[in-house]
Symmetry: C2
Subunit: 336 residues, 2 copies
DNA sequence: AAAAATAATACACACGTGTGCAATTGAGAT
DNA sequence: ATCTCAATTGCACACGTGTGTATTATTTTT
């Protein structure tokens, strides 16, 4: 029960394996009759090309890689889902890698990518990645790379992002219009573009609306429910208490909701809560919050598109960035 | 800027590439001094082994595949996340494939798996997969396969499942104990083990509790919010109206919540809602529902464990199944 | 110092595929 | 029947790696 190769087919049909190879690739130099004979027999015996051999021969593979901090975060699993469908439709296979927010693991992943001859990579970097040296390594090996969402600025590759600055600016504007004057912001380390931009937007929003409330930003290192509870709890116990909290992550929001309920505050009357991501649960919960919804599908499509273009053109001087704007949904207005 | 191979190293160090190969693999037959010389130089010039060549040479790869209906469903992305970490720690790389609930696409995926020489596969089958012929193909190619969650019965491979029968039996018991008498069940096509088992559990629960309410089961073909709204709407407009609805999927629950709120019913007093999956939002929402929580991490670990065992032992006659019991969480009792 | 034994390295081949080039076949033209 | 040219197929090699075997280098033994 050995695997069938073109050599097996050649032997069976009294041909040379090179002829079989050409026949299967519809090379014009092979006679019509032979081509049909080969393709028929190949179908009959269930021949499947050996990609490993093809990769070795051509120094290129049909494997794309997705590198993300966490596969099971809503945003990233949406990206992977869309990206995988697109890739598969175009004859590629997708391998997934998760840095677990660790720059060290990210480095190990890059090595694995090189070892495994991946054809191209889309990546969203780990929280503590400041030095993009390991990504430069990819470039050295001429492996096309596209950053999305969480990007490195110090490296010349196409980037797909959302306009985080405008997102937070608009959020603050909306909150101010609703009468909020004490707007807090729970965000991440300022090294990363995502948080840096949001912090700029937040600050400008505060300024533009001439809010007297002292700028209140809490920087957290990890994004989980416990951290959200801790920080939100701290904010809510201070005087004056904020009348709005913006959470830069999904899980922080959950912690905040806990604490808000614990304090007996009502949303959105007593306090307004803003979160990122479009978890459909938000729409049906009675915790009427405002969500910043990112165009996941469009982001994945753009990343794939940019990567594919780099894969097809051998010119690697096209460095085109794409920025998408977010949609801000006020769930208080949405549900009856 | 070419990629460094063992031949390059050999040339540089005046050795034969076979000696370099042995040195890097710590073969005892190579002199200590040479081994160090080689490994030092390899490190210096950043040598990375070419996996494609290794795969070709050894007829085996370091790539594992995960085949699921949808990557972006909470349960599956959790599985992929855990599985990927385990795989990477053990030197494997994980490719993901999504059938989009289509048996046809599943077939194409299997072909891709064979083409790409994946070392092993864990899979959860598509909704309309009755005939597991394409999975048999994997067996023919001696590619180890482990089913999880949604399994095929007609094929002899290890299976990792949850005890869906007991889950629904217990759910009905809990509901009955709470005084429910008109318990409805929104489930999927009965061909699949997951739904078949739950339907058995539901029916036995109805019987054991001697409920007079006519068994009310709605079978749906797709699992999305719209379907949930439609079916839940239908149930709620009938007379008598159910006092409990069990939803076999995450998204069905969302639709049901919509309709329940639309009718002005309160949970859990007017009606009790049961859903699958442990989306953390459930814990903070005021829609006090009961959730059937599956041990995602344990399932992924078991699947990996079984697969790894098959990969290491060449004996492929170990067909050991693992079944996990679910945890039923009453969120009404959880939150203040 | 020569022979034997052992250690260390080199050689050749295989894995499956694709491609440049040579060889063969066939047909048409003279 | 011979020549020409095109159509078709075969041959040889390369991609990077690992391993059995032959070969060389070194040490030990007598």
């Amino acid at each position: 029960m050995k695997r069938i190769t073109i050599k097996d087919i050649a032997r069976e049909l009294n041909l040379h394996h090179s002829t079989v190879s050409r026949a299967l690739r519809n090379d014009a130099s092979v006679r019509e009759e032979t081509r049909i004979r080969v393709s028929n027999y190949a179908r009959e015996c269930g021949y499947q090309i050996n990609m490993s051999a093809l990769h070795l021969r051509g120094n290129k593979s049909n494997t794309l890689a997705v590198v993300v901090p966490n596969i099971n975060h809503n945003f990233f699993s949406n990206i992977i889902s869309v990206f995988t469908n697109l890739a598969f439709q175009n004859g590629y296979v997708v391998s997934v890698f998760q840095s677990n927010e660790s720059s060290v693991q990210e480095g190990e992943i890059i090595n694995a990518l090189i070892k495994n001859n991946v054809a191209g990579v889309i990546a969203s970097i780990a929280m503590d990645t400041i030095n993009p040296a390991h990504f430069e390594l990819l470039k050295q090996y001429r492996i096309p790379l596209v950053f999305f969402d969480r990007i490195c600025h110090g490296i010349a590759v196409p980037k797909v992002t959302v306009d985080n600055y405008s997102a937070l600016l608009e959020v603050v504007n909306i909150l101010a219009r609703k009468g909020c004057t004490r707007i807090a912001h729970i965000t991440g380390g300022s090294k990363m573009n995502v948080f840096k931009d949001r912090q700029r937007g937040y600050l400008d929003g505060i300024k533009q609306n001439k809010l007297t409330y002292v700028r209140k930003e809490e920087i957290v290192a990890s994004f989980d429910i416990d951290t959200g509870m801790q920080v939100a709890g701290k904010l809510l116990s201070e005087d004056p208490v904020p009348d709005a909290i913006i959470c830069d992550s999904h899980f922080l929001v959950l912690g905040a909701i806990f604490k808000i309920k614990e304090k007996g505050l009502k949303m959105p009357d007593d306090i307004k809560l803003v979160g990122f991501g479009d978890n459909p649960y938000v729409q049906v919960t009675s915790s009427k919050m405002i969500t910043v919804v990112q165009p996941d599908e469009a982001i994945a499509e753009a990343a794939f598109d940019l990567l594919l273009r780099k894969l097809e053109n051998r010119e690697d001087d096209i460095i085109e960035d794409r920025t998408f704007s977010v949609k801000i949904v006020d769930n208080a207005e949405l549900i009856t």
